[in-house]
């Protein structure tokens, strides 16, 4: 089977725009959660979110540097974020082929959980108030989920497989896993893969709040709101952003002397077949996803050093931890597991890709990023959850979990590059 390595990384998250600033701030236990100020929140139960800092300063996302204002009318924010992260990842990989053959062997698979929700919400208002003649010709292409992949392919001339994953909060992980398989199956040599999300909008917040999924008790203390495994957690904090990786067939990467962040060695998937929003209480789906990934990687459970948990700061945290204990047995007490959602919030369809990147950086620097706000671990949360501060430790192999509404689960396993 062809082997797949990661040769480029791109991030735009509430911690900042750019991989380096993200990692620096994450390791320094900083939070990207703040009060929502760009729309009315007084009647919303949740009034905070992980929001990308915008501007031209250090670590800020400069929208004009992504594309001109004229072109941004054609895309909702999730596409802009996806493009921003893809630009960084592609530049980082140095893979900018100009010949047809190379371009045809380079594909894109970037998903989103929700897509152009703000645009759809605004369009519905326009239709209601002003009628169909006032609907923009860009309404549909600005909202379609696969248009991140579309825009990235158009910008770089990548003419290989063009695909988009939609599996709610597991989207980013599925996109990376599926894209790696396209390379393994020789459908492409290089894939730009990941997830993007921009659903921090009145309608998005109202929807998740109605599903009783959001944190509502910390509106006045935003940086303390996302507290995975903590006794005082009360729901997840929405976040926005994108994580994109460049995946590449190993020999292809070696031949051109590419920098290799790590190898995708395991990918496992499962379905809960249980409930539309709640995870199966015995964590059965999560267990099977992790076991399938270990099997694909050809590893024993005791070879995993670090787990980047799904860990949303909901009741699901203890279910995931229970699943980890079942899969890893005694080794669960030797590995480290943390939730980086404590710093950036839950980036929904982008989360799995952002967390895959954090996992790769954990391997590179041999440091487990912290779980912020974990002051009083809930009952049974007795393994190393890297509370409050980052932890230096040997990390050869990392596993990243992502679970989505509908009962969809994905686990990715990375190891240091050959």
């Amino acid at each position: 089977m062809r082997r797949v390595v990661v040769t480029g990384l791109g991030l735009t998250t509430p911690l900042g725009n750019g991989v380096n600033i993200n990692w620096e701030r994450l390791i320094a236990s900083q939070s990207g959660i703040r009060r929502i100020e760009h729309f009315e929140v007084s009647d919303l139960a949740a009034q905070i979110a992980g929001i990308i800092p915008r501007g031209t300063g250090e670590g800020e996302l400069d929208l004009d540097a992504v594309c001109p204002a004229k072109d941004r009318r054609r895309m909702d924010d999730f596409i802009v974020y996806g493009l921003a992260a893809a630009m960084e990842a592609v530049q980082d990989s140095g893979w900018l082929p100009e010949d047809d053959e190379s371009r045809e062997r380079t594909g894109v698979m970037i998903g989103s959980g929700i897509g152009g929700l703000p645009n759809i919400a605004d369009g519905a208002m326009t239709l209601e108030k002003s009628g169909p003649r006032r609907i923009s010709p860009f309404f549909i292409p600005a909202a379609l989920i696969n248009l991140v992949s579309g825009h990235v392919s158009i910008r770089y001339g990548f003419k290989g497989p063009n695909h988009a994953v939609v599996t709610a909060c597991a989207t980013g992980a599925h996109a990376i896993g599926d894209a790696a398989r396209l390379i393994q199956f020789d459908d492409a040599d290089v894939m730009v893969a990941g997830g993007a999300e921009a659903a921090v909008h009145r309608l998005g917040v109202a929807g998740f709040a109605a599903a009783k999924a959001l944190c509502t008790s910390y509106n006045d203390r935003p940086t303390e709101a996302s507290r995975p495994w903590d006794k005082d957690r009360d729901g997840f904090v929405m976040g926005e952003g994108a994580g994109i990786v460049v995946l590449e067939e190993l020999e292809h990467a070696k031949k051109r002397g590419a920098k290799i962040y790590g190898e995708v060695i395991g990918y496992g998937m499962s379905g809960d077949a249980y409930h539309i929003t709640a995870p199966a209480e015995d964590g059965n789906g999560a267990q099977r996803a992790m076991r399938a990934a270990l099997k694909r990687a050809g590893l024993n459970p005791d070879q995993i050093d670090y787990i980047n948990a799904h860990g949303t700061a909901t009741m699901g945290d203890t279910i995931e931890l229970g699943a980890v204990k079942k899969v890893f047995g005694d080794h669960a007490y030797k590995l480290s597991m943390s939730s980086t959602k404590s710093a950036v919030g839950h980036l929904l369809g982008a989360a799995g890709a952002v967390e895959a990147i954090y996992s790769l950086l954990a391997i590179r620097d041999q440091v487990a990023p912290p779980t912020l706000n974990l002051h009083n671990p809930d009952e049974g949360c007795d393994i190393d959850l890297v509370p409050l501060v980052a932890k230096q430790r040997p990390i050869k192999v990392a596993l990243s979990n992502s679970f989505g509404f509908g009962g969809t689960n994905a686990s990715l396993i990375f190891k240091a590059g050959p």
């Binding site: 729309f39 204002a69 941004r72 009318r73 929700l117 326009t126 010709p137 909008h201």
Partner: protein, 114 residues
Amino acid sequence: MLGNGTFRLSGGNAEALGKAIRARDTYSIAETSEESQMSDVAERVKKIVVEHLGVEESKVTENASFIDDLGADSLDTVELVMAFEEEFSVEIPDDAAEKILTVKDAIDFITKNS
């Protein structure tokens, strides 16, 4: 910019501006007091073209074709027509819109019909 409420507005009087905000917050329509006085159809048409297509003002001559000279695609032209309708409070039927290919076509139609 779609979403997140960061809309830059330009053009038209206050009432039209209000209508534009309600109607389509995806537009860039700019408002300043001088601009709101601007009555010359040609100037207002050119201004809309410059803003929507992101082109240099000097390129927007009366004979310039939206698609051949100013880099518009078919979706841009649909949006341009909508912007003219908004700015001049005229309705441009689809069959007429199809014939508006140049800056001059737009100026002529608006002059005759508003």
